[in-house]
């Protein structure tokens, strides 16, 4: 049995370019990637009564988040207009819109950096947030010890002393002895200067948990006033329940989102370079559309991150 002439060829697959199909498949994996994070965040929050929502505590800046939402919406419009311009043959306009999108992406990252700076300044970082009063005091003591420099010096003191005791080569012993003397002198000098009665009193009471946080804050302030070396010690904050989980999820979600923004900036730079070289043409319509699809997805993720992290 044979087929007659005039039978149309069987058309397979979806009616779009392969590159666009590839981008949609990639975005499918991206949906799973971000939904896992966002979904887990929601589940963790539901299981954590007392989750920190006070913006004075978490140093979440709702206005910064809202401005960033507006910036991303603007960039989504500029990228879709760039795609339309390429389709219509206005390549210079398309390039300029891509430059605008790139600038908006930079603004987004600038605002995000400002927010991250606040988090680092207040030490709202995974594993750094005290969740009980004693943890607040212990953290202060740890930072006081580091600020004196004595922690590292005393470790070196023990290390050199052990080395000297084990050393069998008589020729090397004088060098080790000299080094030990220098370390001992440094320890003694710093100890006399910084380990004042006030320092030792605060340290002892904090470790024992026999001082109120208000009093510890005042004592620390006085120490910092008398010895600028202690200014590196973070200001005493109230303990934050689930503060570490909050910081972990915040940096995980916003960090991966920011990484996607940076990759998107690379895509826009590619189109701008094509435009500058005078090579941007109709054949790049699908490429611009794919970059646009990626960018809209980045916007889509932020649309959910904004209410979940900043508002609720």
């Amino acid at each position: 049995m044979t087929h007659g002439h005039g039978v149309s060829t069987l058309k397979m697959g979806v009616p779009i370019p392969n590159a666009k199909l590839g981008m949609w498949l990639f975005l499918g994996t991206e949906i799973m990637f971000f939904t896992a994070f966002i979904g887990t965040y929601i589940v963790v929050r539901l299981g954590s009564p007392g989750w920190p929502t006070d913006t004075h505590v978490t140093h979440i800046n709702i206005l910064a988040g809202a401005i960033n939402t507006f910036v991303l919406i603007c960039s989504s419009v500029s990228v879709v207009l760039a795609h339309e311009a390429v389709h219509q043959g206005y390549f210079t306009k398309a390039k300029n819109l891509m430059i605008l999108t790139l600038v908006l992406a930079c603004v987004f990252l600038g605002i995000k950096s400002f927010e991250y700076y606040g988090k680092f300044q207040h030490d709202i970082l995974p594993g750094h947030v005290p969740e009980s009063n004693q943890q607040v005091l212990d953290k202060m003591v740890r930072e006081l010890d580091v600020a004196t420099g004595l922690t590292a010096l005393r470790q070196r003191q023990v290390s050199v002393a052990n080395e000297l005791a084990k050393e069998t080569n008589e020729e090397r012993k004088p060098r080790l002895k000299a080094e030990l003397d220098v370390v001992n002198t440094n320890v003694s000098g710093i100890s006399k200067k910084l380990e004042t009665p006030e320092f030792n009193d605060l340290r002892r009471k904090a470790l024992a948990g026999t001082i109120k946080l208000d009093d510890a804050a005042k004592a620390l302030e006085k120490l910092q006033h008398d010895h600028p070396e202690f200014k590196v010690v973070h200001e005493i904050h109230k303990p934050i329940l689930y503060g570490n989980l909050f910081a972990s999820t915040y940096f995980l979600m916003t960090g991966f989102h920011a990484l996607h923004v940076i990759i998107g900036m690379g895509f826009f730079t590619h189109i701008i370079m094509l435009g500058n070289a005078g090579r941007l043409g109709f054949e790049h319509g699908t490429l611009v559309e794919n970059y646009g699809l990626y960018w809209h997805f980045v916007d889509l993720v932020w649309i959910f991150l904004f209410p979940l992290i900043y508002i609720i």
């Binding site: 979806v14 949609w24 499918g28 949906i31 979904g39 589940v43 963790v44 539901l46 299981g47 954590s48 009564p49 007392g50 989750w51 929502t53 006070d54 004075h56 939402t69 507006f70 989504s76 419009v77 207009l81 795609h83 389709h87 043959g89 969740e131 009980s132 009063n133 004693q134 943890q135 740890r142 010890d145 922690t151 005393r154 100890s191 030792n200 340290r203 002892r204 470790l207 024992a208 948990g209 026999t210 946080l213 208000d214 804050a217 904050h237 303990p239 934050i240 329940l241 503060g243 090579r279 941007l280 646009g292 809209h296 649309i303 959910f304 904004f306 209410p307 979940l308 508002i311 609720i312």
Partner: protein, 186 residues
């Protein structure tokens, strides 16, 4: 490279009023902000404690507003707004509205698979069959049991509940660095 519109290509793309979509997205973002502000006024979100060193705990808003939980209402509203915004972006900016049905066959399975991790975590993390025994849960229960923080309340100071100064927990010398106080609730 031509700067003139190309009739064949110009007719190929979908015609969408992008500025109208932009306006709708901006309006919805403003609505989210307004909802948050209303929520704050009605006690839907946590406020700063009067005492700077009281543990930071979000109090149950229901207790403060006569039984109505504004937090859940505001949360539902802003998430509904987010879903609406996402739908606008998906349908008009990503042109899903103008694609064939194949796109849903591709996207829906990923959405279903994406829910696997949250679904697997929910029974253990969010729905507790048994009593939760974590330092945070104990502290939260402690906070909720007191209507208002008092600067000298036990969990706000490092002193014992009876007001007596406890004995030192470990020797205090510069050689003994501070250790994390796991599970301690002064």
């Amino acid at each position: 490279m031509s700067e003139q519109p190309h009739a064949e290509h110009a007719a190929s793309g979908p015609h969408v009023n992008y500025l109208m979509i932009f306006g709708a997205l901006c309006l919805l973002t403003i609505m989210s902000w307004v909802a948050d502000e209303v929520g704050k006024q009605m006690g839907g979100t946590a406020h700063a404690s009067a005492d700077a060193h009281a543990p930071a705990v979000a109090h149950e808003p229901a207790a403060a507003t006569g039984g109505f939980n504004w937090k859940i209402l505001i949360g539902g509203i802003v998430l509904a707004i987010a879903c609406t915004k996402a739908t606008f972006v998906l349908l008009y900016f990503m042109h899903v509205k103008f694609e064939g049905k194949w796109i849903w066959a591709m996207l829906l399975p990923t959405l279903i698979l994406a829910l696997a991790i949250p679904a697997a975590l929910t029974p253990d993390v969010a729905l507790h069959y048994y009593t939760v025994e974590t330092p945070q849960a104990d502290e939260y229960a402690n906070q909720q049991s007191r209507p208002e923080h008092h600067p000298d309340s036990p969990s706000n100071t490092a002193e014992g509940a009876d007001g007596k100064v406890p004995q030192e927990k470990h020797p205090v010398t510069p050689e003994h660095p501070a250790k994390p106080a796991e599970g301690k609730h002064p």
